[in-house]
């Protein structure tokens, strides 16, 4: 097992313990799944979920789309995104300016410092 240990100079990392933990976690998950109902209980009204008397929404309506996730995070970082997103103009001439600007900074950084 020692040969499987990655030495980083400051510590060590042996993935085998993690693999065992993964296997145990998967086994527990499998047991929990086995304890569940194999299918909805019956057809018709008895098989529908109870939603306080409301109709079951369509699959499209129940799925949370990608844009809705982390809305709060991106909104909280609005000040950052308001500056960084507009830099990605999609305009080739702007991108060429970025290349030339970066080159100029590198010349100063490498040539002078």
């Amino acid at each position: 097992m020692l040969t499987d240990t990655l030495l980083t100079g400051f510590g060590a990392w042996n993935p085998i313990a993690w693999v065992i933990a993964f296997a145990v976690a998967l086994f527990i998950a499998w047991i929990i799944q086995r304890m569940g109902e194999p299918d909805v209980p019956g057809e018709g009204e008895s098989g529908k979920p109870y939603l306080s008397g409301n109709d079951e929404p369509t699959p499209e309506a129940t799925h949370i789309g990608g844009s809705n996730l982390y809305w709060g995070c991106t909104e909280a970082m609005n000040g950052y995104y308001a500056r960084i997103v507009p830099l990605h103009t999609g305009c080739l001439t702007d991108y060429v300016l970025w290349v030339l600007g970066t080159f100029a900074l590198l010349v100063i950084f490498i040539g002078v410092l």
Binding site: T8, W13, P59, I64
Partner: protein, 523 residues
């Protein structure tokens, strides 16, 4: 036969895929079966040659191959005046490492493409360009000649641009291809101008000879700035990354996986120039910090730009930018302490090994993620995260492969991304705790981003609009499965990979004298 192949492996590594590309219009007349067999044969043979070449280098030291010489190892014939006048391939452990995984990804991409492109037209051109892209990558990482490097860089860029634009897609892909072509040509011209400056001073195009004569004049500094800017652009480092979301998202999925390796060939060029051509003559602290700044900017801007994306491939493209930052950071820290033997042994070498290890890990898990994106697009026809959902019901294998790739890129143990990131975190922490914390936060944001993607694509009830979605054909599953398996194995057995491939590669970069001596014979 085997001796001939091993003796000529550097040349065959380029010649075989080039022959495969130019023969494709003829082979294509045999039909799909013949073409598929040909492309698989060529990429498999190329991968086997790369394995043999790597084995030769790791067991016997760097391989020198002089084109047109009576003996391939004779770079300095008696009447040459001590100047390697012919084109020379100098394959050390770093070159062999890059060639090995590039050739492997080439085979995987070919395997995936025979299923993903089976209903498309223009396959002769597609595969010919794909093989030329592979030629460009392999040439860049094996040549020891600067002008030759430029030629392969151009082959790499032009073939890549043509492939980005290949499936026109109402003109959007053509626009992406145009941007990629223009910017990478600009990068190529910057590299060419730098080569001209070096040639004007040192009367040679050979990297080892230039390294042995390097005096670090003002012209050398300008050449270095040109090389860093040009190759950082090719690698997609911030703030030169603008082409990546367009090119990566519009290219066919299999090609995107290979474009990631093409960008890493740019990183290879950057590291080769910094360590092997300039080495200790440059102001390594200043230039090392420049590389670190590019790395940190790439990590932070890449991941934060990924979070709000709605197109899954654009999101992955920004993550590719972010992951490149880790490689720049690790190797940049090694460059800062290049002249400090104590610091190099304390943390510099580990940082470099982490950065180099991350290159191959990134090629595996990011290639895997782009292939899963292609699988999702195959039957749903959309990359929009707001229009996807519930695919876990019908694409279980693709979902499993996506989970493996997502956990690896987020640096979750025991996948390969964790091993290389751990090496980077710990070594960079000794150099600068603040930068190490930034690197860890970027990993957390990466995980958050991929949780979003996973939920948006695979979770939720089955969507009626994707009723046609089903598991992709077997070759695509096998290709994804091979990358997923390597992503796991390289994470579970990291020490074997590090001691076999990564340490020799890092040592080859650090030991400039050995690189020079390979060509000039012990100067």
């Amino acid at each position: 036969m085997m001796d001939f192949i091993i003796a000529n492996a550097p040349a065959l590594l380029i010649a075989v895929p080039m022959l495969g590309a130019f023969a494709l219009p003829l082979i294509g007349r045999l039909g799909d079966t013949g073409r598929n067999g040909w492309i698989l044969l060529i990429t498999l043979v190329t991968a086997i040659i790369a394995v043999l070449l790597t084995w030769t280098v790791l067991s016997g030291g760097p391989v020198l191959y002089t084109f047109g010489a009576a003996s391939p190892v004779d770079a300095l014939p008696a009447d040459s005046g001590g100047i390697p006048i012919r084109i020379v391939f100098t394959v050390d452990a770093f070159s062999a490492f890059m060639a090995l995984f590039a050739a492997f990804v080439g085979f995987i991409v070919a395997l995936y493409s025979i299923a993903s492109e089976r209903l498309s037209s223009g396959k002769d051109g597609y595969y010919a360009l794909m093989l030329l892209l592979l030629v460009g990558i392999l040439g860049m990482v094996t040549t020891g000649d600067l002008f030759n490097f430029f030629v392969f860089l151009e082959i790499n860029s032009l073939a890549g641009a043509a492939l980005v634009a290949y499936r026109i897609d109402k003109g959007v892909a053509v626009e992406a291809g145009l941007k990629y072509a223009f910017l990478t040509t600009l990068a190529g011209l910057m590299v060419l101008y730098a080569i001209g400056l070096l040639y004007g001073q040192y009367d040679s195009l050979n990297m080892a000879l230039i390294a042995s004569r390097m005096t670090y004049t003002m012209l050398d500094k300008v050449a270095l700035a040109l090389l860093v800017a040009g190759l950082a652009l090719k690698a997609g480092a911030v703030p030169l990354h603008f082409w990546t979301p367009d090119a990566y998202s519009m290219a066919p999925a299999a090609i995107t996986a290979l474009l990631v390796v093409a960008s890493q060939a740019g990183l290879y060029g950057l590291f080769r120039v910094l360590f092997s051509v300039y080495g200790l003559t440059l102001s390594y602290v200043t230039v090392g910090w420049a590389v670190i700044i590019l790395g940190v900017l790439s990590m932070v801007v890449g991941v934060t730009m990924a979070i709000p994306q709605k197109d899954v491939k654009r999101l992955m493209a920004y993550h590719a930018v972010s992951q490149s930052g880790y490689m720049l950071l690790g190797v940049g820290v090694g460059l800062v302490v290049l002249g400090d033997a104590v610091a190099m042994e304390a943390f510099g070498r580990t940082a470099m090994e982490g950065g180099i290890f991350h290159i191959v890990n990134h090629a595996m898990y990011k290639g895997l993620l782009f292939l899963t994106a292609g699988a999702i697009f195959l039957y749903t026809g959309t990359r929009n995260l707001n229009k996807l959902g519930g695919l876990g019901h019908s694409m279980k294998w693709t979902m499993l492969f996506f989970i493996i790739g997502a956990l690896a890129i987020a640096g979750i143990p025991p996948f390969n991304g964790f091993a290389s990131k751990l090496m980077i975190y710990e070594s960079v922490f000794a150099f600068s705790p603040v930068i190490a914390v930034i690197a860890m936060v970027v990993s957390v944001l990466t995980l958050a981003s991929f949780v979003k993607v996973f939920h948006a694509i695979f979770m939720g009830p089955a969507q009626p609009r994707h009723a046609e979605a089903r598991e992709v054909p077997l070759p695509m599953l096998v290709a994804m499965g091979a990358l997923a398996l390597l992503t796991i194995l390289m994470g579970v057995f990291p020490e074997q990979i590090v001691s076999t491939l990564i340490e020799p590669a890092a040592n080859a970069l650090i030991d400039q004298g050995a690189y020079v001596a390979t060509v000039l014979g012990g100067l």
